[in-house]
């Protein structure tokens, strides 16, 4: 499958500004309560790290962060042709009764988040689980919505939203690609 560029959705400036706004919204909604930021592998991880640093700057307190790999909880393991690489899951000790923010780059069918919720239930009972995503591109297959959204766009099924982050891709940008 080859992808060709349809259009650029966000520039470096937009990416950083949007992350900053998302962070503000999270702080505001949680009214000063400490939150735990959990990045979903892979691009949710650097997103969560950056948001944690922003929160540290704004409030003077560094929030707890963690990483979550959802591949062991996928509902399509026996159906996908390729086998996903399992990356590290590393949650803070004792997240019982905490306010947890799941962080991911793109919200699409909702199945990744379904798997993430299953995974989190194996670690205890959090006070709340909230969801922050960079892009909500529609086409949900499950009753799942995000609490915090960087940008909501309408997309076609044959499009792919590519979030690029410095830590992994060497640039900050978001592109909408089309399957050729």
């Amino acid at each position: 499958m080859t992808l060709k560029l349809n259009y650029q959705l966000m520039t470096t400036q937009d990416v950083r500004g949007t992350l900053d706004r998302l962070t503000d919204e999270i702080l505001h909604a949680n009214e000063g309560r400490p939150v735990v930021l959990l990045g979903i592998q892979r691009r949710g991880v650097p997103m969560a790290q950056r948001m944690a640093e922003m929160i540290a700057k704004k409030t003077g307190k560094h929030p707890q962060i963690g990483t979550l790999d959802i591949n062991l909880y996928r509902d399509d393991l026996t159906r996908v042709a390729f086998q996903p690489v399992v990356r590290k899951t590393d949650l803070p000790q004792d997240i019982d009764d905490k306010d947890v923010i799941l962080v991911d780059d793109v919200l699409y069918t909702g199945r990744t988040i379904r798997a993430a919720l299953d995974a989190l239930c194996d670690f205890g009972r959090m006070r709340t689980i909230q969801l922050a995503v960079f892009i909500d591109r529609g086409h949900r297959e499950l009753p799942i919505e995000a609490n915090f959204i960087g940008k909501k766009i309408s997309t076609k099924d044959n499009e792919v939203v590519e979030v690029k982050l410095m830590e992994i891709d060497g640039e900050d940008a978001i592109y909408v690609m089309e399957k050729a």
Partner: protein, 310 residues
């Protein structure tokens, strides 16, 4: 994703496949430290442990690994199965296949038994140790333990000391470590060293050395692997007495000091304390013998996931 139906030995594996197993094992290690030590990944898969030889560690380790991934694990030991009524190995295998097993882990005293079963079944076959041939998951868990302590698998000096003749663990480790460019020093009494072992077919035989002197083997070693003297496989006398064996080939504290400052001492278990290893070394600060056991669960989870996951 392992591009093979079965895991029969290390010899036929590429370095990329070995690294994929180790990397996945490291990701899965975290599951064993959770309050709920279980993920739903292999729900509905059936793993059968078919053991024709005594085993605590390997069988339990596979059973725990399967259960932590939510597979259904069934244990069969030869003494309680129809094998004792005269059923052939192949008929046993076909029977398990007819019950729609997804994976069969087999241990057998004959080299090549897992390969025979693999040809006869649709199920994935994992070699849990066959005769004096291979014990691939043991070498993989040893490699994981070494990599987590040393940070890498290349350029190390690894001494493997003891009953080389009867040891499938030694063979699998020789294949794995020489593939990555570590020097393997085999040491044992001449009676317990296979004739012509230097010509053993491994990818990089220039990395394989032999000696009858344990002092030479362990000098400046990064890793010392002690092997159990396998009395149950010995129909004749290979050495005059256990005391003499320990005197010449046992790992004492004095000998540990010949190795590198940060040496690690390994043993695949079960240990014969006072035969190949002294208690003070087995329980001492350099010993990683129980880390190996933990790594074993992670490596077996990794292998089951990679073979049955998709």
């Amino acid at each position: 994703m392992l591009k093979r139906k079965d895991l029969l030995g290390i010899q036929e594996l590429g370095c990329d496949e070995i690294l994929e197993i180790l990397d996945t094992a490291e990701s899965l290690q975290e599951i064993s430290s959770r309050p709920i030590k279980k993920v739903p990944t292999l729900r509905g898969k059936t793993v059968i442990n078919l053991f024709f030889e005594a085993s605590t560690r390997t069988r339990t380790s596979f059973e725990i690994a399967g259960k932590r991934l939510s597979a259904d694990v069934v244990n069969i030991s030869a003494s309680t199965s129809s094998v004792s009524k005269g059923e052939t190995l192949i008929d046993t295998a076909r029977t398990l296949d007819a019950m729609a097993a997804d994976c069969v882990v087999i241990r057998h005293s004959s080299s090549g038994a897992p390969a025979t079963i693999a040809r006869m079944t649709k199920a994935a076959v994992i070699n849990g140790g066959d005769g004096a041939h291979e014990h691939p998951t043991q070498a993989l868990l040893d490699a994981l333990t070494i990599r987590q302590r040393k940070g890498h698998l290349d350029g190390l000096k690894v001494a493997i000391v003891g009953d080389i003749t009867h040891s499938r663990v030694a063979r699998s480790n020789i294949h794995l470590l020489t593939k990555f460019g570590s020097h393997v020093w085999l040491c044992s009494a001449p009676t317990l060293m296979p004739v012509g072992v230097e010509q053993m077919i491994c990818d990089n035989s220039q990395f394989l050395h032999t000696t009858n002197s344990i002092d030479e083997a362990v000098a400046d070693a990064d890793v010392i692997m002690m092997l159990r003297v396998q009395f149950e496989r010995m129909s004749e006398s290979f050495f005059p007495s256990v005391r003499e064996y320990f005197h010449y080939f046992g790992l004492s504290r004095a000998r540990v000091h010949l190795a590198k400052q940060d040496v690690i001492i390994m043993h695949p278990g079960p240990m014969n304390r006072g035969v190949e290893i002294s208690s003070e070394v087995a329980d001492g600060p350099y010993s990683v013998i129980f880390d190996q056991v933990s790594a074993g669960v992670a490596v077996r989870m990794s292998v089951l996931y990679l073979m049955l996951g998709a």
